[in-house]
């Protein structure tokens, strides 16, 4: 009896501890005003050449999550003392949490300055651009169009053009499959493909996962939407933009403009373990290995660079 009871109590205590631990590090923002939060990384003292140790917590962009997870696995294999945890939650969550020092790394599809309204907070963050994601306009294969100009895309996404025949395609009503207004992918598409923000149109469809977007575009007659290059396959028709094909080579050469960096933000300069992890991302091993393998474009290969304001300069 006694054994049983203490066992139940131990269980409750553990769950309570686990709960409070969650509150501190993790998923939730409930502790924003606690003040007592410390970054999760506890870097033990290392003299020169000593092994790395400590734990690293990263959260944010679900688009970047698979890459960070895979690279983290490799990094942990090479450094037994390091524990890296990667959580999703979205770019906004990642930026909020890194700026509140709840996580060590905040993953984001957009520049922090675009999301964080507080410029001072954004200025504290240090940007590490680890990969590039390009986004292509795609349509249902039966729409009968290969290429759209910027103006045609703008007209479609603002509801001026409502039938594919107006842009040389089949006589078929256009069905827009959008991403939610706050999505990083949508922000990238609007800034660099359309050059303008669009409002949600009546009757348009919004889906949040790229997989669902692809499924909907492939199945819905007359559908148009946009997807990262890594998601493209034969079930949807990839549209050229102003005659330029969305390909990795065109993105790298700066010919195809609809792309964005994948950012890994730290709050101030990272500690030794976090820095080693971020540096590892930029090694050739990762850039030409994991990055390409998972369908991203290596940041190191880019022949152009782009700043917060969107100005593109040759490297």
């Amino acid at each position: 009896m006694q054994f049983k009871k203490s066992w139940i109590m131990a269980l409750t205590l553990t769950s309570v501890l686990a709960l409070s631990a969650c509150g501190n590090n993790g998923g939730n923002k409930a502790t924003t005003n606690n003040g007592g939060n410390t970054p999760a990384a506890t870097n033990t003292e290392t003299s020169s050449g000593a092994k790395l140790s400590g734990s690293v917590l990263a959260s944010g962009s679900t688009a970047l999550q698979p890459l960070v997870e895979q690279v983290a696995e490799k990094f942990m294999d090479a450094n037994a003392g390091v524990d890296i945890q990667v959580q999703g939650g979205g770019s906004g969550t990642g930026l909020t949490q890194v700026s509140e020092k709840q996580v060590d790394i905040g993953n984001s599809d957009v520049f922090a300055e675009e999301k964080l309204k507080d410029a001072a907070k954004a200025a504290e963050l240090v940007d590490h651009q680890v990969a590039v994601v390009a986004i292509a306009a795609v349509s249902n294969p039966k729409a009968g169009v290969d290429s759209l100009t910027k103006q045609q895309l703008v007209d479609i996404f603002t509801g001026k053009i409502m039938n594919w025949k107006e842009v040389g395609g089949a006589d078929q009503a256009i069905q827009i499959i959008n991403r939610p207004a706050s999505s990083g992918t949508r922000a990238t598409f609007e800034s660099f493909a359309l050059g303008t923000k669009t409002e949600d149109l009546k009757g348009s469809i919004q889906e949040d996962s790229s997989g669902t977007v692809k499924k909907m575009i492939g199945e819905t007659p007359g559908a148009i939407g946009y997807l990262a290059l890594s998601y493209l396959d034969d079930s949807v028709k990839t549209l050229s933009y102003d005659g330029v094909e969305p390909s990795v080579d065109n993105v790298v050469a700066g010919k195809y403009p609809v792309w964005a960096y994948e950012h890994m933000y730290t709050n101030g300069e990272p500690n030794e373990t976090v820095k080693a992890f971020l540096d590892y991302f930029l090694t050739d091993e990762v850039q030409t290995g994991d990055v390409v393998e998972l369908g991203y474009i290596p940041a190191s290969k880019m022949q152009v660079s782009r700043d917060v304001a969107g100005t593109v300069t040759p490297k």
Partner: protein, 300 residues
């Protein structure tokens, strides 16, 4: 010699009693703290926009324009509030007759094998994760609606259909319990008066158990109102009040799940999402109150 063990046992009982009481009080206190802090957290976040004057309450509740990313953002949540009510009511309308028939079948018509067969099957429905419902909706219901009815298949009707399947088990199990607990003599008297089975069901059983069945319907609606993922996948999520059942619309939950991860904490848009969470929470209170009222009627 004989007194000592009794004393010891008594002492042991006291200690066990004390430990039990402390443990129980601790758990209850923890529970209360968790509930109060959750309510406080959602409420304080939810009213942040109204307190700071960013958004007016009336504009939030009745505004029909939702464009948080625009240069002059507007935070009208009426399309989502109406969308939530619309799919919930439709789902209840579809699911209630099915559930009540299933419950009658299990308790009145074929209590033996009917119950043995139907009950586990219906309970199975409540164990399926909502993402599976969403995907089935997307792969089966949406193409079906697209091929047979106007519109793109995605929309209010698809959402209501998916939800109605999801709330079937809730309504059925509550209704079946209510029917099973009906005093036997009511039915026997009815039969003694020469009433047929259908007359007994429609004139005696259903009217007597009506409040209890309604409890099940309200519980089902509460579930439908709060369901997020499955609805989000099939409803389309365009921020407009739909003019037809086959048009893309949004619910409170779908907008919250779409926007929460992509907005930063403390931004007006994020706070507007918390305001929607507050509306959801208040609606849940209303549903709980309704259930309580129905239970009270039930007792008489």
């Amino acid at each position: 010699m004989r007194g000592q063990p009794t004393n010891k046992r008594l002492e042991k009982h006291h200690i066990e009693n004390l430990i039990g009481r402390i443990y129980m009080s601790f758990c209850v206190l923890l529970l209360i703290v968790i509930i109060v802090s959750m309510v406080y957290f959602v409420a304080s976040k939810g009213v942040a926009n109204f307190v700071s004057g960013e958004v007016k309450v009336s504009e939030f509740l009745f505004g029909t324009k939702w464009s948080p990313e625009a240069d002059t953002p507007s935070y009208g949540a009426f399309p989502f509030i109406s969308g939530s009510f619309l799919v919930t009511l439709l789902a209840a309308l579809i699911a209630s007759p099915l559930s009540i028939c299933a419950a009658l079948f299990m308790t009145e018509i074929v209590p033996g094998w009917g119950k043995k067969l139907l009950q586990p099957v219906i309970e199975l429905l409540s164990g399926i994760p909502s993402v599976v419902y969403g995907f089935v909706g997307l792969s089966v219901i949406v193409p079906f609606l697209r091929d047979t009815l106007p519109g793109q298949g995605i929309g209010v009707a698809a959402g209501a259909l998916v939800l109605s399947v999801m709330i079937l088990p809730t309504i059925t199990s509550v209704a079946a319990d209510a029917l099973a607990s009906l005093p036997q003599n009511l039915k026997e008297s009815s039969f003694a008066l020469g009433a047929t089975r259908w007359q007994t069901i429609s004139r005696v059983i259903l009217p007597t158990t009506f409040p209890a069945i309604m409890t099940g319907v309200v519980l089902g609606m509460a579930r439908a109102f709060g369901e997020a993922l499955a609805v989000q996948m099939v409803i389309g999520n365009a921020p407009f009040v739909p003019h037809s059942l086959f048009e893309s619309a949004s619910t409170l939950t779908s907008v919250i799940t779409l926007g929460m991860g992509n907005t930063t904490m403390g931004s007006p848009q994020n706070n507007a999402l918390w305001s929607m969470a507050l509306v959801l929470m208040l609606m849940t209170f209303v549903f709980v109150l309704l259930v309580r009222m129905l239970e009270r009627r039930n007792r008489i």
